[in-house]
């Protein structure tokens, strides 16, 4: 039955009576159009917020006119919370109550103890989300409740969930988590309307991602994605700090690492030095009154050339180039197939990055949008798509990590391989290995390696209350799903009795940061290893059967 307007003759002439069922969708449509949705780029060192309005997008400046704010939180003794530049300015004075680079800790069990209270990383991150929200609210003049949030493409399930939770704590409903490189491509493709294959190189403060997309006829199709969840500008800062501290110790026999305030100061100067070195060939670093001994106050002075700095960070950049090549291989493309190179993140201002990429791909980067803001803008475009304000582009993203379950031989049974377009879904049928077995433990893993131990565990769950039967008879279907946010959902069902199992994943065992970051590189190196292992384990399972 179609809701058709009914023409009637009213007292003032003919009028239209709409059935109730037709009015409700109209209200909803109105809501979609009127309700502001913002795009948030929550970065390791800097964050930004953008909005989509009137067919175009732009980042929103805060009251100081800054379009990107530092992701730094300062919790004062009075209980006041400062976010952004004010917090960063006092970082040296209040080392203990200032939190930096909280994004790196998202999803871990770390707790921050500040002024006698403990905060989870999600709580700290929620303060940043809250600030971004209020910046947007000032601009719109209405409450903002919905947001599209970006995450590094290489974030796993736990970190994605943690990011979403942080935004929810700030009172934002997360309509979508999108990957940062994809967001950048979206902003770029939407504003320039150029088509072709684009390689996005995203080197931010704490994470590195590389994605290859094909943009055609409004469809943004991700072909392959790779990355490292803990490689970024922070590492470059640390390298400079190490050099400066070492130099100071040789000169004055004082270890600055023991003085946290001094170390914080050195970190800040190192960041400034890094930025300057992108423009100048040689700089002088001067930090007065950094320490004192019997003779009086001591100053740190040093000279650094760009060449020396490049040597320091060379190993990191080599790793990124290796990942770029691996991504090209995944996509089945050659460097000359790439039409455009898009640089994202502040660290891509380093001249060496541009040089190395030019050597690898033979391309000059596109320079139309600022690399710090482009991700937030992409999130705003996606917000525009979701709110129905623009319908002529759609994003098809992929999952960067494979998803599977552990089988009997301690190997990973990959169910959804990496670079599968999301939303994706796969199912596998389990059975029991003992007579009258009552429960099955199912272990969900995310990663690239054949051996379960080398991959990331998303958690495990027990299927309880299996009907009693001889071994091998019950058939239990486990369904793994990855939604458009890249978040994993698991469900299970007994195929014979059609009874559904409730499944909740518990993330009890998680790998440490370094292990996660080195996972894919390892996977490439030890593919040979895995083959041996595969044979070995298969023979084990065979023996068991006999």
């Amino acid at each position: 039955m179609v809701h058709r307007p009914i023409w009637t003759a009213g007292p003032y002439g003919p009028m239209v009576v709409l059935p109730a069922g037709a009015i409700y969708p109209l209200f909803r449509l109105w809501g979609y159009i009127m309700e502001p949705i913002i795009g948030i780029d929550f970065g390791t060192t800097y964050s930004a917020v953008a909005m989509f309005q009137g067919g175009t997008f732009h980042t929103i400046p805060n009251e100081y006119g800054d379009r990107v704010i530092p992701s730094v939180v300062y919790i004062a003794e009075t209980g006041d919370i400062y976010v952004g530049r004010p917090a960063k300015n006092v970082a040296v004075l209040h080392v203990d109550s200032v939190v930096q680079s909280v994004k790196r800790e998202l999803g871990s069990s770390l707790l921050y103890h500040i002024n006698g209270q403990s905060y989870t990383p999600e709580r700290i991150a929620s303060f940043i989300f809250g600030t971004l929200r209020s910046i947007a609210e000032k601009q719109y003049g209405t409450p903002v409740k919905k947001a599209v949030v970006t995450v590094p493409a290489y974030f796993d399930d736990c970190r994605r969930k943690a990011t979403r939770k942080a935004a929810q704590m700030a009172g934002l409903e997360v309509l979508r988590l999108i990957n940062e490189p994809t967001a950048a491509a979206l902003a770029y493709g939407f504003s320039t309307e150029r088509e072709g294959k684009v390689l996005v190189y995203d080197l931010g403060g704490g994470t590195f991602d590389v994605s290859i997309l094909e943009i055609r006829e409004g469809v943004f199709e991700v072909i392959a994605t790779n990355g490292d969840a803990s490689l970024g500008g922070d590492d470059f800062d640390r390298k400079i700090v190490e050099v400066l501290v070492e130099q100071f110790r040789e000169e004055n026999r004082i270890d600055l690492k023991e003085d946290r305030f001094a170390l914080q100061k050195v970190y800040e100067e190192a960041e400034k030095a890094k930025r300057l070195l992108s423009e100048q060939r040689m700089i002088e670093i001067e930090i007065p009154f950094i320490a004192a001994d019997k003779r009086g106050p001591l100053h740190l002075t040093s000279r650094m050339t760009r060449l020396f700095f490049e040597e320091l960070i060379c190993s990191f950049l080599d790793k990124t180039i290796r990942l770029v090549k691996a991504t090209l291989k995944d996509a089945g493309l050659k460097p000359e197939d790439i039409d455009r190179l898009l640089l994202v993140g502040g660290s891509t201002r380093i001249p060496l990055v541009r040089k190395m990429l030019a050597e690898t791909l033979g391309l000059e980067p596109e320079g139309s949008i600022s690399p710090e803001e482009v991700v937030a803008m992409g999130a705003a475009v996606q917000a525009g798509v979701l709110s129905g304000q623009t319908a002529n582009c759609v994003l098809v993203d992929v999952t960067p990590l494979g998803l599977g379950v552990e089988n009997q031989g301690g190997l990973m049974h990959a169910m959804i391989p990496r670079n599968t377009p999301i939303p994706a879904r796969a199912s596998v049928i389990f059975t029991t290995v003992q007579d009258y077995q009552k429960a099955v433990l199912i272990h969900i893993i995310q990663g690239e390696r054949r051996n379960v131990k080398d991959n990331l565990s998303l958690g495990s769950f027990r299927l309880e209350g299996i009907r009693e039967a001889p071994k091998g008879e019950p058939r239990i279907e486990v369904i793994l799903e990855i939604d458009t946010n890249g978040i994993v959902d698991v469900s299970a069902e007994d195929l014979d009795t059609r009874c559904r199992y409730s499944v909740t994943l518990d993330n009890t065992f998680r790998l440490s940061e370094d292990e996660v970051s080195s996972m894919v590189l390892d996977a490439q190196v030890s593919a040979l290893d895995d083959m041996h292992l595969n044979c070995y384990s298969n023979s084990l399972v065979e023996e068991e059967r006999l």
């Binding site: 469809v219 199709e221 939604d483």
Partner: protein, 200 residues
């Protein structure tokens, strides 16, 4: 079983059996714009979208994505060439016929085939008989990407009939490579004939 799946996939994508690589891609993109859960709020949109993605993957696999990717690269390079894009069919034909450089002939041939129409098959056949090997190989690769399965089979059959395969060994290899990937599940009679011939 496999054949059934393939036919079903082609139906999901809304293309016929004679669709080319480019047709399949265009059809896929149109469907994605319509059914991606971002733009389609219906409840079954995620399921539809997954079906479309799976069908697309399967069809690409059947077409031999490696072989077609080479051709697609070739066509891309022609599409990017501004000078060629500006020419009309007549001018291209002139270039194709009278140019002494094999590269110019090859790119003109691809552009002509892209222009489409009845003439495109004629141009392909002509290019397959070109004196330079580069043009012949380019023609084969273009055929593998742009033409539907039936056209490729037709070309192959005509080559067989002319019995010039010894001269065009390289060309023959190329086309049989494309065909073997594609025709695994299409039990066309031509294929069985040509397969037995190619072994002999």
């Amino acid at each position: 079983m496999k054949k059934y799946e393939l036919v079903r996939s082609l139906k999901i994508l809304g293309v016929d059996e004679n669709a080319s690589f480019c047709d399949v891609q265009t059809a896929y993109r149109k469907l994605v714009l319509k059914y991606h859960p971002d733009v389609n709020r219906r409840l079954d949109a995620p399921r539809r979208f997954r079906e479309i993605v799976e069908a697309y993957g399967l069809v690409l696999e059947m077409m031999g994505s490696q072989a077609t990717a080479v051709g697609a690269r070739l066509i891309d390079s022609v599409l990017k060439d501004r000078m060629i894009r500006a020419m009309d069919a007549e001018e291209l034909e002139k270039r194709f016929r009278y140019s002494s450089s094999p590269d110019v002939r090859a790119s003109a041939m691809i552009a002509l085939v892209l222009h489409g129409g009845e003439g495109s098959r004629r141009i392909l056949f002509k290019a397959l008989r070109d004196s330079d090997e580069r043009v012949r190989v380019a023609a084969l690769q273009t055929a593998g990407t742009l033409c539907g399965m039936k056209d490729v089979l037709r070309i192959f059959a005509s080559l067989l009939l002319e019995r010039k395969l010894v001269v065009w060994k390289r060309a023959f290899k190329e086309i049989s490579r494309i065909l073997q990937r594609r025709v695994v599940d299409f039990n066309s009679e031509v294929m069985t004939v040509s397969a037995s011939r190619s072994q002999g």
